[in-house]
Symmetry: C2
Amino acid sequence: MKVINAGLLGAGTVGSGVYKVATENAEIISKRLGAELRIKRVADIDPNRKRAVKIPKSIFTKDSMEVIKDDSIDIIIELIGGTTVARDYMMEAIKSGKHVVTANKALLAHYGKEIFLAAAENSVEIGFEASVGGGIPVIRAIREGYVANRIESIHGIMNGTTNYILSKMTEEGRSFADVLEQAQKEGYAEADPSFDIDGIDAAHKISILVMLSWGKFFEFESIPVEGIRHITPVDISFAEELGYTIKLLSIAKSHENGLEISVHPALVESHTPLAEVSGAFNAIHIEGDAVGPTMLYGMGAGMMPTASAVVSDVVEIAGNIIHGSPSTSIPKLYNDGDSIKLIPPSELISRFYLRFQVEDRPGVLGHLAGLLGKHGLGIESVIQKGRHIGGGEVPVVIMTHEIEERSLHDALREINEEEISNGNSVFLRIAEI
Amino acid sequence: MKVINAGLLGAGTVGSGVYKVATENAEIISKRLGAELRIKRVADIDPNRKRAVKIPKSIFTKDSMEVIKDDSIDIIIELIGGTTVARDYMMEAIKSGKHVVTANKALLAHYGKEIFLAAAENSVEIGFEASVGGGIPVIRAIREGYVANRIESIHGIMNGTTNYILSKMTEEGRSFADVLEQAQKEGYAEADPSFDIDGIDAAHKISILVMLSWGKFFEFESIPVEGIRHITPVDISFAEELGYTIKLLSIAKSHENGLEISVHPALVESHTPLAEVSGAFNAIHIEGDAVGPTMLYGMGAGMMPTASAVVSDVVEIAGNIIHGSPSTSIPKLYNDGDSIKLIPPSELISRFYLRFQVEDRPGVLGHLAGLLGKHGLGIESVIQKGRHIGGGEVPVVIMTHEIEERSLHDALREINEEEISNGNSVFLRIAEI
């Protein structure tokens, strides 16, 4: 039986998972592939650290270049992470004519254009199923399953940490800080959680799905990103009362005047498939012009789910090597999106959830409505509650009709300066899925 | 730009959808494929029937063999349906060295082995993404996305008609017959609905996913199949009270002593992703040893979703033709599953929902519990309701612990013969997903 050799750069959690699944399921993989798949070399700065699987010392090296330069290795699995050495090694591998499989979303979101162009030039494949949605085969779904479709929209819960935190806050009515602390203790959030909770990770992922769907990497810095630090149990509970669940969404949506890309917490209609995705799970809701609405759901992170996706790419590339077919996916993927334009955030249109803390006296709601109306914001529904005896502050929650974000901001600016409000108005977008 | 020609057999609803998406999205498809995809000939017994898309008269023929024998055509799209002429044409196409794309689940479930072996012998591909789950890319997910996994279980809502009927019954408390009649009027059910409501269609589909996951087609007749005709609003409502939703499930599950395959209505825990799938939607919950639990959701039927899947296969095969790579998927798929055995239905283990109509007098529940206990059935919970004044019949609902089906049937046989019951006990399985 023919043997295809792969080399692994980075034997941390996911790297160990890759070695584990490739060895433990070697028989079933070789039956499906029609060849033996072997992880021949492993590079890691610490060969001795404790791992979930025993990797023979004999295949370890501390030098990634040794693996990249090994002529018997066809596929390099990059699981170092980050955008510094990982980038260098990936470019070296590509230039050495090696196919590359990676889970590195940050690297692709920032340097995807450079990487794909280099891969096309060197006739090698880049496998990146593991970069979005962990084990969920969303890359294949878009690239192959929906290949006949114009993709109309993507709404994804693509970060497990934030979904875990929001789910806990929703179920238990606890504060963000409180749940974050617990999540850190339980290993659901990193010691420095900002990458997750500020939406950066979710933005890396939508950037990759946008490239697949619309053929272009947009400048990463041009994507508006908002995290979940400001989400409170009060807003979660008002949203629930209105029939919505708050989720951190990665959104890409085709409009007549261009493409909307953004990451922000949003109100999602409750009891819909996406709203029901709880805990550390991920789900990506994709709508195509022929296929209609679809959703893919699963574990968006973790050792074995991510390893499952990594090995699926290695097997696919190994199959192409065996059957002598050249690199086929790169031209399919990356075509620089022709003239497609990003819609500036201020021009995005949405319905909004607003919460104001206002003085509890007659006429305040009318005054508020007047100020909103002045900026073109129509009111769909209002909740006013918890009237204190003898004044004080009360929350007023307003759901607006659709409006451009810039008008909302104009209105909020004026309201926050008014005497009637405490200047801390809250706004959240309502997702139309 | 290179041109790949396909020929279409059967221009009914899905066939028209294929022509529509292939022409309307031709530009985006050719950009992704790197070649032009052309539906060059269309065979249909009635070229003049009213269609959702205009197909030029010049490419029509009434003779499928004319399309199959056209040397300029590389890919035959079989959308005739059924297992008679469709089978003949498919075998002719394979023997003529044409790749075949089909949505024909009945044909694959019954003659898949013959078809795949013939395809392997003739080095052609069989694309069948459209045969399960309409536009949902479940074939690709299992074949490629989860290629590194041992598949542990599949639980699918794979028939839109029955899910539509059960959803309506659940939402509106209406009877099966009543909702079926409405579904027929609205086009959600066929004039002869037995294929759908008796679970045959759902069984065809699980048979295909079993082949993909475990490498073997089992004799179609060996799969136990139960439809939804006997489901009543009373049981739906009791199930709801117990925290469950009734769904028609296609199940395949790996056990130590073999493989469980079955189609039956089952109680699914409410507020889980699968339970929330309503209306004509489909969803397939798949668990792999590495990837963990996943779910794919979308429209399981209909002109455009099914066409989306058909064209995705045509594009994939066209890509292989362009890049000169030979047939790769057949050996991956079909390996005759080695020694894997089907577990006989009577040996399957499950928790059960039972409903008895019993005389309303003291001691009846105790007597019932005694009879169940005699056959090893442990009781998890009981609902006894609606006690009439002065006797009469009352429903008793019992949830059992896990037990072999044969013991359940023994118990029910004995209970149905007893004076205390009216002989019409109801049992439903509880799904463990």
